[in-house]
């Protein structure tokens, strides 16, 4: 079945220099394994291919049912230099929550 991440998760994003981070948190423990299985660094890199020109690294925080993504070179020079409306990546979390994934598991949402 196809799901959109906003159905199973919430998220917050921000900046460190020219890198953005996105923390995505499963709404319930049972959804964390779905995030872990399907939301890979490669998929996030592809999702931001128009803006992220560096490496994407994924870290896991199972204690918070969360994943943390670092998107290097993705803010057009960072908050002090960037020409973008969202120079600090504050809405990158929304982009990730809009992502759709095809999952093998069946679940009631």
């Amino acid at each position: 079945m196809k799901i959109q991440l906003i159905q199973i998760a919430h998220a917050r994003s921000g900046d460190k220099g020219n890198s953005a981070n996105i923390g995505i948190i499963a709404k319930e423990k049972k959804y964390f394994s779905i995030l872990e299985k399907y939301v890979t660094a490669e998929k996030v890199k592809e999702l931001f291919s128009d803006r992220c020109f560096g490496k994407v690294t994924r870290y896991e925080l199972p204690n918070l049912n969360a994943l943390n993504f670092i998107l290097e070179n993705s803010l057009g020079g960072g908050g002090t230099r960037s020409l973008r409306n969202d120079s600090q990546g504050k809405t990158f979390s929304a982009v990730l929550l809009k992502m759709e994934i095809e999952i093998k598991e069946r679940m009631e949402l």
């Binding site: 969360a66 908050g79 929304a94």
Partner: protein, 453 residues
């Protein structure tokens, strides 16, 4: 030793809710009020102000705030810790001294400084420190004559010493945000420098406090429509115990929400590798943090593990990197996006005809893709679109001529354009960021006091 310490956040950045610190001190009991005014960009702006006037270079809003709450803080025995000193903590402290004298408040002000190494860069380089860019590995020679500010991030040490010496209002330059919360915990509970699990708990408490209401319902993406009374949102308060356990809460008569969701979102905010969250005081393992909702608007935080810190301190340097500017135009239905795209094309052609020098020109269509980027959809349904076109250049004149190409679109471009009157802002100076490291043994905080008797 006190059984528990209540540390309240009053400001998450310079420009945060003005009434928040006043509410924290008047609406219920607290022991410490922590106020964060500094961001990466702030130091370079303050350094520029200090160049123009040697008595400036600190967060003036803090001084205004102290006029309102300093006597109340003294009366209630609430200690104040703030990085409002910016690049001139001594002048900032003198302003607070004036307030204390005028209002007849007996107070000991502590000043933590020594973080500003702008004038010592060359000396330090001469002993072999390279200041390579931590992100890109670049050599510092490329920016050498353009450096505007250089500040070491100190940990809790300087503040702890000031507290031990009886300071009741502590003004610092660049210290880590979390260090301002960790310091009173070390001081009150006598935590050992090597008790890394406890220090790490203090860092987590600081991380939860450092962005103000971001841990009490502000900017929370889960069930945001149900978060009560954000108009009167309560800023976070940490109630900490000597074993490192703490509770996140807010004053009872305030808006917002403290839940596992609101705290979790703040915990994952602006972190890197969660197992190795590096600060001068310790390395914190964010994957060890446990959260438990114990009652409404109270979340228990426990189980935090930490490790020894590295031998380095981070330096935040900024260098002058040209100018930037933006212009905006609003386009109406029908075909709002198509019109905005045509206008963008026209402006770019006209700018290109002028043969000017730009590092970058960047266009976004607000209402369509400025947040979603290529994930944007449904363009045909848009009622209106704002074209936001920005440029970066080392030549200020080029930017002024660039801006002159924007208003003419109203009479010389596609139909249905408005909002052009706000389209001529001044080019702003750009300060780019240069993160780097310095061995710990080369710098240490200096501490001074002003006592008003």
């Amino acid at each position: 030793m006190k059984e528990k310490i209540r540390i309240a956040s009053g400001q998450g950045f310079w420009g945060d809710l003005p009434n928040a610190p006043i509410d924290q001190i008047t609406k219920g009991p607290i022991d410490y009020l922590v106020l964060d005014y500094l961001a990466e960009v702030t130091m370079s702006i303050l350094q520029k102000q200090k160049l123009r006037d040697s008595k400036k270079g600190f967060a003036t809003d803090f001084v205004e705030l102290m006029k309102t709450i300093l006597s109340l803080a003294k009366e209630k025995n609430v200690k104040i810790i703030s990085n409002a000193g910016g690049v001139n903590p001594i002048e900032c402290a003198r302003e607070i001294e004036k307030i204390a004298r005028e209002k007849n408040i007996k107070i000991k002000i502590g000043i933590v400084f020594g973080d500003d190494i702008l004038n010592e860069i060359e000396n330090i380089q001469n002993i072999g420190i390279e200041f390579k860019n931590l992100d890109t590995g670049e050599n510092i020679s490329s920016i050498k004559n353009k450096i505007v500010s250089a500040n070491v991030y100190f940990g809790a040490d300087g503040i702890v010493e000031a507290l031990k010496n009886g300071a009741e209002c502590i003004i610092t330059g660049r210290v880590t945000d979390a260090g301002m919360t960790l310091a009173p915990l070390i001081y009150e509970f006598g935590w050992d420098k090597n008790d890394y699990d406890k220090l790490a708990s203090g860092i987590v408490a600081g991380h939860i406090l450092e962005c103000g209401a971001q841990s009490t319902g502000g900017n929370c993406s889960l069930d945001w429509e149900t978060i009560p009374d954000l108009a009167h949102v309560g800023f976070p308060i940490v109630e900490a115990f000597s074993d490192g356990t703490f509770f996140v809460t807010k004053h009872k008569n305030s808006g917002g929400r403290v839940s596992v969701a609101t705290v979790s979102e703040q915990l994952v905010y602006e972190i890197g590798d969660p197992k190795n969250y590096i600060t001068p005081d310790c390395i914190t393992d964010f994957t060890s943090i446990e959260l438990l909702q114990v009652e409404e608007n109270v979340v228990k935080v426990f189980g935090v593990k930490g490790n020894a810190p590295t031998e380095y301190l981070k330096i935040s340097m900024a260098y002058a990197d040209g100018f930037r500017t933006f212009g905006t135009l609003t386009f109406s239905w029908p075909n709002a996006l198509k019109k905005a795209k045509l206008a963008d094309e026209i402006i770019r052609k006209r700018v290109s005809d002028l043969g000017l020098n730009f590092e970058e020109i960047y266009s976004e269509f607000v209402g369509f893709n400025s947040t979603l980027g290529k994930s944007a959809t449904d363009e045909e349904k848009l009622n209106e679109v704002l074209l936001r076109i920005g440029a970066h250049s080392h030549d200020e004149k080029s930017l002024k001529l660039f801006l002159k190409q924007i208003p003419p679109i109203v009479l010389t471009g596609p139909p249905g354009v408005t909002g052009y009157l706000g389209a001529l802002p001044k080019p702003m100076e750009v300060f780019s960021y240069w993160p780097t490291l310095i061995p710990k043994n080369l710098v240490e905080p200096k501490i001074n006091y002003i006592e008003v008797k």
